[in-house]
Structures are given as C-alpha cells and as structure tokens.
Symmetry: C2
Subunit: 747 residues, 2 copies
C-alpha cells in the first residue's frame, strides 16, 4: 500500500511535470495546433490569413538576420529593425507550429541567439528622453512589446530547442529582459497605465513559458515594493502612481476599466492596451483556467472589446479622444485579435463576425479558426452601432462618454460628448467637450494629438511639444474656456481628482436624443452645464444638433466657446474685419497657437455662419447679444516646426459677465455637386433661435424655421426623473409634462 | 408633258415641304425614335438611363409650373427655377417622343405658354453685372443655354402642337429670344468665345426647328455687322473681338480649336462648350448631312472629344488649367453626350465604351442607343491614357500642353506642363507652369479658379475678385516670377499676342519622358526655358520629376519659383525662421494674398524639403547657392471674405542675378499607414543633386543617391534633332551621343 501510494504520487508528479513542460502552452496549445492542422485548406479566411503571414515571413527570411546595437528613436533604423524582428518572430513561431516546417523554428532560434549574444552587455538605450528607458528601444514600453511577442515565439519553438539552447536563452536573454522590465524598471512596471500593462504582460507571458512563478506573480500582482516617489511624473506630466494603488495585471484591470468596459485613457490607448490584455488573458485561460480570467470583474475584458468597437465612426475609426492619432481603426492588428478572442470567449456573438469579415484576416490560433469557420458557414449578423452611454471610472462613477447616433438616409450623424475623468497622463483638459460626425466626415472635430507616431522626422515619432501647449489645452477643444485659461488651470494633479457628472442621457426616442452633464470643478466658483440634443424634426432635412451651454459664476469672466469646423467658409449674417497682419489670439494656454484671422462685434440676436465641406453645407446659428464677439481663428501660430494642422475655428466670446447661456443649433443641409455644379439647399432653414423661458430649473428654446414653423423644446435641467411632473406658463399658455423634456410644434 | 412636268414639280414641292416640316428633326428624328422604341426593354444601359430621366421628370411634374419674373443671380431662386425648367423640358420632350405619352407634351406646351406670356414684356435682367445681360438670367449666356435646350423640347412636341399654338410660341417666345441673343446682343453673339458658341447654337437650333434660314445663317456665320468697338472688353477683362475675326459657329470651330482638338480656353471650358458644339453638329448632320460637319477641319470636333478625355487625372477629373473649377470631370452630362456622339460618328472606337460604361448613363437618342447596345454586347476595350502632346492655336502653332504619364504599380504619375497661348479671357498668366499628380492626388497643384460656381453666397456663384487678384496671377502657379510681377505684367492684350514655344517633347522611352519649352515674351529681355523630365530610375522607388528652369536676362532681377504642395510639412535640411506675426509677402500681383509663414537664407548646395500627403511621402531637393532664399508661404492674406483656400507653397527665391538655373528633383517615396502606424521609406533617396556641366547648349545633371549610385543626364537644350550628334568632355571623360539626351549610371 505504501509502495502503491508512492507509485501513485510518482505518476502524478510525472504527469504534473509533463503538463507544466508541454509547449506550446500560451496562445497555441497542442490541441489547438492539432485542430488547426486538421482544418487547413477548408476554411478560406483562415487559409488566406495564413498565406498572407507566410508570404510576409518568407520574404523577410530572405534578408540576413539583423540584430543591431540599439541607437535610434522610433522611425530610425535600429528601432524599426528590432520592432520588425519581434513581429516576424512571433509569426514565424506560429508558422512552425501550424506548418510543421523546421525552417521557421531555426530562424527564430538563430535570431534569439543573436539577441542573447548582445543582451547581457546592453546598457540603457542611448536616447535619454524617456522616464523609463529601455535597452533595445528608447523606452521600456517598446522593450515590453518586444517581450510580449518574443515570449510567444519562444513558446512555439520551445520543444524544438535543445535543453542547452533553452538554458542559454533564458539565462542571457529572457530572464534578464523580464528582470529589467520588472524590478529593473519599477517606475514603468508598477503603475496603472497602458505602459505597465505591456510590462506586466511581457513578464507574465515569459513567466508562463518558463513556468517561473516569480514572474507570473510580478505580472499579476505587481512588485511588492517599488520605491516610486509620491510626486514622480512621466514624460507626459502624468503622475507615476497614486498612493495605495494596486499594481500589476489585476490592478490594471481593476482601475482604468469601467464596468461598461470603457478604458479611462480613451479608445486610442484602449486599442493599444487591448492586445496585451487579451493575449495574456488567453494565455492565462490556457494555463490557469481555474482563474476564469474572462469572468473577472463581471467579464470586463470582453465588454471592453464591444465598448471599443462602439467608440468608432462609420468607417471604424476611433474617436480621437484624449491623445489619439486620427485614422487608427478597428482594422488594426490588435483589434483583429481582440474581436477573435471576444467571439471565442463571449458566447459566439454573431455580430462580431461582421466586423471580423471586414477586417479580412483572423488570428492564427484557435480563436481565429473559430471565427473563420463561422464566417465560412455564413453565421454572421449585422453589427449595428447604436446610441450608447459608456461610464468611466473603476466603479463607473467617474463621468461618462455619451455617443448619440442618428441615421437619416445614407447619413449617420454621431455626437460624441466627453464627460469623463482626466484619463491618466494621456488625458486632455476638455470637460464637456464634443465632436460631431456626418458618417466619417468630421463636422466639428476633436483635434486629437500633436504627434506623428513613428515618423522619425517629427521628434522621433514621439509626442511633440505642441501636444502639451496645444492639443491638451481646453481651447483646442469644442468646450468652454473661462478667461483664456484651461480647465483645472491645466494642472494634472488637480484634474485627476475630478470628473464631470452626467445629468441626463436619454436615447429612448430616436428623434430627440439628449445627453447633458455638469462640471463644477474645472473652474472654481463656476458651474458649467452642457446639454446636447440631436433633434430629428420633420421640417428639417437632416438632424439638428442643439447645444445649450449654461455657465454660472460668482465672478465676472470672459467665456469662449469654439467650434472647430472643417471646410470652405461661405457666409455669415454679420460683418467682420480681417486684419492686414495676423497675430496670435493670446499668449498662453493654447491661445498662442491661434491666428486671429477675423473679428466681429455682434449686433444681431442670432449669429449665423455657413460653410461647406465634402459637398455638404453646414450652418451654425447661435444666440448672441450685443456684447458678444465672434473670432475667426486658425491654428498655426507659434509653431516653429510646422507641427500643427492649419485648421479653422469659429469662436463665440461672451465678455464681462457672471452668467451666460450659449445656445447654438448646427444644421447639416443641402449638397453641392462638382460635376453638375448644382447647389441644393445652400441656406440655413432656421429663421430664428430663441430662449423663450429660463429660470433656475427650466430652459425653453424656440426654433422658428424659414416657413414659420415653430418648435418648442422645454427642458428640466435640474431633476432627471422620468416621473417628474413639470409645469411652465409661457405666452399665456400652460405647458405640463412628465419627464425630462417637452417638445412640440406650436403656433 | 407640260402638265406632267408641273405635276412632278408639284409633287417635289410637296415632298420638300413635308421634309422641311417633319419633326423631330434636330437630335431625335422619326427614324431614330422608331429605332429606339423597337429596342426598349432590350438594352440595359439605355433602359436604366431612360428610367432615371423619367423618374426625375415625373417627380418634377408633380410641382406646379413655375415661370417666375427674373430677379436673382446664379444660385438664387429665379435663376435656378429657369435653369431647371429648360433642363426638365428638354427631357420631357424626349420622353414624349420615346414613350409616346402625351402628358409630357402637354407639360412642355404649358410651360412654353407661360414663358410666351411673360417674354415679350421682359426688360433686361435687373442684375447689371454682365457685359451681356440676358432677359431670363443675369447673363445672355444662360439665356442661350435656355434656348439650346428649349429648342430641342420644341422640336419634340412640334407636331403635337396646333399650328396656332406654334405661331403664338414662335412669335412671342422663340423668335424674340433668337433675335435678342443675336442682333440684340452682338457683343455676346459675334465673338470667338464659349459664350458665343452657346449663342450661335441656341439661335441655330431654333432656326433649324423653325426652318428659319436667317437664324441658321446667323448661327453658322455670325452677324454681318455688329458695331463692336475695337477695345470692348467683357467682365473678365477679355477682349470682345479681335479685328478680322470670323464669327459664328464656323468661326468658333476655326479659331479656338487646334488641329489636335485642344480648345484654347482649357478643358473646363472645353467641356462646357462641348455640348453646344456637338449637339448642333448632330443637328446639322441630321438636317444638312451634305455639310459633313463632323469632317470639318479634319474632324476636329471628334478629335476634341478625345483630347478632352485625355485632359483628365486618373479619376477623370479635368486638369484645372486657366479658369477651371476642380472636381469637374468626364462624368458631366456634357461628356455623356460628347462620348456617345463621338462613338456614333467616329468609327465606333471601342475604348470610348469603357468611358461610357463608367459614366453609367447614355444620351436618350440614337447615339446613346448605339453605345448602350455595344456595351450590352460586350464590345468595349480599355481606355488607356498615354503621354500626349496637344498643340494649341487654330493652326497648332501657338504652344502646347504636354501631358506625361508614368505608371509604377498602382500609381499613375501625371505631369501637366502648360506652354500654351493665353487662352482667351479665361486664361491665366502662367507660362511654362505645371501641375503633377499621383493618381488623383495633387502632388503639386494648379490652384484653379477663385469661384464657387452656382453657390449664391459667393457673389452669386460668379467670378470672385480674387480670381483676378490671385488665381490668374503668375505667383499663384508653379512657374517663374520675375521681380514679383506677373507674366506680360498681367496685361491681357499683350499676353494674347504671344505663346510659349515647345522645344522638345519626347515620350518614346517610358523611363525618361521629357517636355521642354521656351518663353521669351513673358518678361521683355528675359528668356525662360523649362525642361521637365519624368525619370523612372531603377534605384528610385517611384518616378522622379526633374525640373530644370533656366533664366537668362540682360538685367539683374529677383526670380521666384513656387511649388504649391499639399499636406503635412515634415522636415527640411535647413534652418528657417517663423515670425511671431505674419504679414503678406508683397503688395500686388498676387503676392498680397500670401502669408509669409517662414523664411530661410540658404547655406547648403542642396535644399531639401519633405512632406506627407494622403499616406505618401514627398521630397523636393533643389540646387541652391548661398544667395538664395526659401519662403514658406500660405494663401489667405488680404482675403476679406474668406474666398481663398489656405493652401501652402514652397518658394525658392534667387536674388540680384541676371541668369539663374533652378534645378529641382521631386521624389515620391514610401508610405505611412495610420492603422499599423508604420512609416516606410520616409526619407529622400537623393544624397546630392548637381549641375556638372553647363554651357550655352548643354546642361549636365548628376543625381547621386543615398547608396552612392550616380545617374548622369546630359541634355541638348538648343537643338531638337533625333539625329544630332553631341559630344561633351566631363571629368576627363568624353560622352558622345545622338539625339536630345544622354542618360546613364556612372562611376
């Protein structure tokens, strides 16, 4: 019996060893590979994805192996070569597993050996710009990217390598790399930030391959001690760490993700972080299914994929909230992986297949295989984006993003209103700001970031000074600026303490969708409330955007409200001056970057401006009083390296007042055809815009069109309650309604 | 016998009467209609074109008839209504004939009657801006458009109308309109101009319908006397008439068309004039086949259609030479008719079918039917645009347009070099100017016109002041400006006397295509020669544009050479200053419209500038010396109504010199992907650009790339002779060659 028990334990031990040693075990698994091999030639999208990758890797393998001593910034040779190496090696590893062709394993091994030869002696990267320098790249972030991909390649050829080779590579390359990125770079590793997620995951992935419990623990829970000073900052001015924050992978899931799956940095960085989050989750699921990582925090990882897909315009490009480069979309490689994983682990939602199909490729793993089979079998259903509120904050209580979509014919109008928290170091000072789209045309744009990612000529592809002096400043956004000063005076620590408060989000009636939020901290003693309504009125050709921006203060201020339009200026209903010489509009807080191209003192009650962009007319009608000014400005002043786009803006300025209510209606109308040269409906249809009622609770807006049709909108701006009973007397009539708003045509 | 003869004559008379009375006889004919009716339902493109028109006309006929008293400028209600009326009536007439449904004839008749009621009492149009005011529209030109279309509608319902109705309409409407446009507006009718072509054709078409020999003669040969003063000008400053010019339709065929079919005003107006030219030609062919109008001047009308199709970028948009609004293309209704007529009358060239198919519609007449049948039967062949020289001038001896196309992968690079005559009143002062395309992306743009056609807010859609002060000026173009003064000092009469002289056009070798021209009159005592080479070198990724601009003068001058690029400024190899306050670059001749955004004194022998546009990198490398300056400017100064686009330009300035040679190489390279964020080949591949030889006859250019590969180009700039033997000693080597140029890689 004793013997039997020992034997049993011995067998168990063998099995455990064998299990822990089995490779691949990260993304590909023995079973997964077997299934893929069985399906080869039977699943068109998987086969074509495989063929594309094979062609790319085969072409690259014709070049001599190049593992240069690190030297350049992004865009430069050594940077791009090391980046290419990790991308190609991950793919070559997968090809080895799927195609069972040793040439790929040999190639991966040989490149690894070159790295192992140089790595132990590498100092910090010679470029000193980063708060957390790497060894292979100028920032540790890129070294972490490298490790996330290289660990997958290592996993794929693990069993191909001799024990001696593995020992050599682990000793001289993988362990030092993991050590450097974790205990060697605590200010990078132990944060709540997309940087740290990459670091955590790189260390965690290599930990899983090497079955190293220390690294796996670092990855999941962070370093026990890090010695980070309380006021330490990164290159973007972001605080490294808030006191008491939980670091590691779990910490980075707990904190920046809201329960709705919104990632507080914004969609551009959410996309960037999505890859390590999901790929590590998949690796954990394969290795530690008992963790049920995809169920963590009510399944936030899978929710976040859906959130991200919704944070896009009609062609799948992410809204450039906070630091975000325009043009990035759900066609990016990160989203291919994300959509495939979400489909695999999230009850096979068939609408995701439509996105995957449009991506035109799948991940070369069991998740991609499943998606490709489902597409082959015609299981997809339309992916339709609807109006949506995404709450911000770990607990969903730190503001929100309101996305309102309104379709009319072939046009989808999308309002994105940002009422969030600061968004970590990539956040912009733009409380209650908005952008507005006509399909993928920006009617009113968010500037995005001031950076040309990976274009070496522009400061090595890194953030430009103008990102701080312009792109982050409040005046660069479509929101209110008090006294030419940014929200929170542009101070990151202050800004990080507060968030806007949603007052109302209502998309139940597709013809009148409302989002309204308050901000009481951006300017001390000043209270802001903005209510944006996307109105589909039968007497207007296309949806109307109604913008009510209410400001109340204890002191007298100047208030600026800019609208960053695009296109050709056509006409105004007011006279303006254009200077012979143009000067910057101000001296700081972003104002120094605006050229003052035109100026007007307003006389009429309604100020109207019409422009044309991409064959479409737009008109803005704004309620003004005789003390108001209009400033026609253009970005580009104090831009000594031509880093900024020369985009125009239309600024409404109210001076010397405590309280102000900006009411603006934005119409999309008519069209211009350059071939038939016909202009249809080139004029605004609004004859008059008025505030007909205003007290501490209610506001009443009347829109009279050119035919005299009057629309009355009454809003309760203080009590959000569907059962609230309201009553207003107006023009000797009594209006009674239940709920947040009343709307009707009136005589 | 006597009786028999009388009877015979009588019968002949009856037949003649019957023939002359048969309607329709203009575009549709009895036979043509019969053939169309037989084919209905059998020819998809014809059927769909018919259905589209029917839907449009049926929808319009639901509205009450509206023939308002004329009042507005273009874009305004009365203008647009009268325009809509003539377009709809022409279509309704055709529908009546094809569908044999009287409701269309009734509608046409009823609208005609409304016009006949008001026409006799109409004064000149109340808007006084035109040199030749209309009655229905602000300019006689639009009244002529009206008559061209209305005469077709009248022809279609001629036989439907009672004799009494015809008499009424002819007396109160058609004859007065024809009379007004001809003898009533000689300054409009008796010119060589697209305006007059419309006038001639309107009068000629109604003359053919009414069988009125006087009007037909006016149309073909103009008025015998017109009383036009010798120095009379139109609104554009164009001379009304040159002494001894032959007016009328024949005159307008003889003079502005070159033997190659190039129309001297440029493609935008050629497109506009094409409709009356061809529709009247078709009407004449139907009524007076003995005239053989399509063979007139060696078939210039049909050649002109081909010329026009070639004057387009890769998506069929016309090059905006002279006054031309960008975006106009061969998808315009005029070109649908033109292509169908050209196919019908020009030996059924099957490549035209490809264009017709892409247009997606055909004319509802026998020409359109023939095209649609041929497309149905799959007869089309690819329409490939090749490099082409189009000579200007009635005799082909007044300069030329050189169009060089070079394909590389999916990119078609197109150089358009303008070495023409003035181009009548729509001409720009831009001798030896060029534009350059990468598919439909403008790498170096021609500004086009300063006008928003039919957009009422912009001066009623008519020419803006900035068309004269900016768009026509030399500095607005990519050509040389001496002493900040436009060519011919911007004087139309002087400019109209001269034309550039082609020196060399050679497209025989697709890897080195050359166009070179001289201009000796733009600046007295200064000789200009520009040689542009599109070079396909194996060591360069994409074709290289080499620009050699040689200036020789008897006096000391300042020379400016601007390049109007598009896109994001990336880098330069020189230091520049950017002013805190921007001022206009000059005070007149277009310089007052440029903001001086940056300035540099050049120190290096090569000045380099790299920018990015639509995911593509471009670099300009220019030979400079230490006295040269670079000016970074942007359009928009002194633009009090925001009429100009804020486009940038890169100006190379050589000061205080008699002679100068500008040598510039423009590379297209690499790409940027906003989704993968990868920048490929973001740098110029030119290490050095040098003049290695220069004397009175030859110039030698050496291009050394980044790898040290040297390309030598030797050009004979004085003798264009394929048999010419040349010899040059250079670096102790002797180069001998026959012909215009020598090119080779050298050690």
């Amino acid at each position: 019996m004793q013997n039997f028990k020992s034997f049993y334990l011995f067998i168990l031990f063998i099995v455990t060893i064998a299990q822990s040693q089995e490779h691949p075990n990260l993304i590909l698994t023995k079973n997964g590979v077997q299934e893929i091999r069985q399906q080869l030639g039977k699943v068109p999208l998987f086969d074509s994805s495989l063929a594309t990758i094979k062609k790319e890797v085969d072409a690259e393998m014709l070049n001599p192996i190049s593992v240069p001593i690190p030297k350049d910034m992004a865009g430069g040779f050594t940077h791009e070569q090391h980046k290419k190496n990790y991308l190609i090696l991950q793919k070559a590893g997968v090809l080895y597993q799927i195609l069972n062709d040793e040439k790929y394993a040999i190639y991966v091994r040989d490149v690894f050996i070159e790295y192992a030869k140089i790595y132990p002696k590498l100092p910090l990267h010679p470029q000193t710009r980063s708060y957390a320098r790497g060894k292979l790249f100028w920032q540790a972030l890129n070294d972490a990217n490298w490790l996330v991909y290289m660990s997958q390649a290592y996993d794929c050829i693990y069993e191909f390598l001799s024990k001696k080779e593995r020992k050599f590579l682990e000793k001289d390359l993988f362990k030092p790399a993991a050590e450097f990125l974790s205990v060697g770079s605590p200010q990078f590793f132990n944060r709540i930030h997309n940087h740290s997620t990459w670091g955590n995951v790189g260390v965690g992935m290599i930990g899983l391959v090497m079955n190293d419990k220390t690294y796996i623990d670092y990855a999941l829970n962070g370093l026990k001690s890090d010695g980070i000073a309380e006021d330490a900052r990164d290159n973007d001015g972001g605080l490294i760490k808030k006191k008491g924050q939980k670091p590691g992978f779990f910490g980075n899931l707990d904190d920046p993700f809201s329960p709705d799956g919104y990632y507080t940095e914004g969609p551009y960085y959410q996309r960037y972080a999505m890859y390590p989050f999901l790929i590590f989750a998949e690796a954990l699921q394969n290795n530690k299914p008992e963790m049920k990582i995809f169920e963590y925090k009510n399944g936030v990882l899978l929710k976040s994929v859906k959130a991200l897909l919704n944070l896009t315009n009609s062609v799948g490009e992410f809204f450039p909230l906070n630091d975000g480069q325009k043009g990035m979309s759900y066609y990016s490689s990160e989203l291919v992986v994300a959509v495939d994983i979400a489909y695999f682990y999230d009850k096979q939602d068939p609408t995701l297949l439509t996105v995957a199909k449009s991506q035109g490729q799948v991940a070369l793993d069991p998740t991609g295989l499943k998606v490709a089979i489902a597409i082959r079998d015609g299981l997809e259903k339309p992916f339709e984006k609807k109006s949506l509120l995404l709450k911000d904050g770990a607990d969903g209580k730190q503001g929100s993003i309101g996305i309102i979509r309104s379709k009319k014919g072939v046009n989808e109008f999308t309002l994105v209103m940002k009422n969030t928290s600061q968004g970590l170091s990539h956040g912009h000072y733009d409380k209650l700001s908005f952008s507005y789209y006509n399909n993928d045309n920006e009617i009113v744009q968010d500037y995005g970031l001031a950076r040309f990612v990976n274009i070496e000529q522009k400061k090595g592809g890194s953030y430009l000074n103008e990102n701080k002096t312009w792109a982050k400043q409040t005046i660069a956004h479509n929101t209110l600026v008090q006294d030419e000063t940014s929200h929170f005076n542009g101070d990151f620590v202050t800004g990080s303490k507060f968030f806007s408060e949603l007052f109302l989000y209502d998309d139940t009636n597709p013809d009148i969708q409302i989002v309204s939020a308050k901000e009481i901290n951006a300017y001390p003693k000043t209270q802001l409330q903005r209510t944006m309504v996307v109105l589909n009125l039968s007497n207007f050709e296309k949806p109307l955007l109604l913008d009510i921006f209410d400001v109340k203060s204890n002191e007298v201020h100047q208030y600026d409200l800019p609208y960053f339009y695009f296109g050709q200026f056509l006409s105004t209903n007011f006279k303006y001056e254009t200077p012979k010489i143009v000067e910057p509009l101000g001296t700081k807080n972003g104002y120094q970057h605006l050229w003052k191209e035109g100026f007007a003192l307003v006389k009429d009650k309604n100020t109207k401006f019409t422009w044309m962009n991409n064959n479409q007319f737009y008109s803005l009608t704004s309620l003004t009083s005789s003390n108001d000014q209009i400033i026609l400005a253009r970005i580009g002043a104090n831009d000594p390296e031509f880093n900024l786009r020369r985009d125009p803006t239309f600024i409404i300025r109210k001076k010397d007042t405590q309280n102000a209510t900006f009411v603006t209606a934005l119409e999309t109308h008519g069209s211009y055809d350059y071939v038939s040269e016909s202009a249809k409906n080139a004029y605004s249809n609004i004859d008059q815009l008025e505030i007909v009622f205003q007290d501490t609770i209610y506001i009443g807006i009347k829109i009279t069109d050119k035919k005299g049709i009057k629309t009355l909108l009454l809003l309760n701006t203080k009590i959000n309650d569907a059962l609230q009973k309201n009553e207003i007397s107006l023009d000797s009539k009594v209006y009674k309604w239940t709920g947040n708003y009343f709307i009707s045509t009136i005589d």
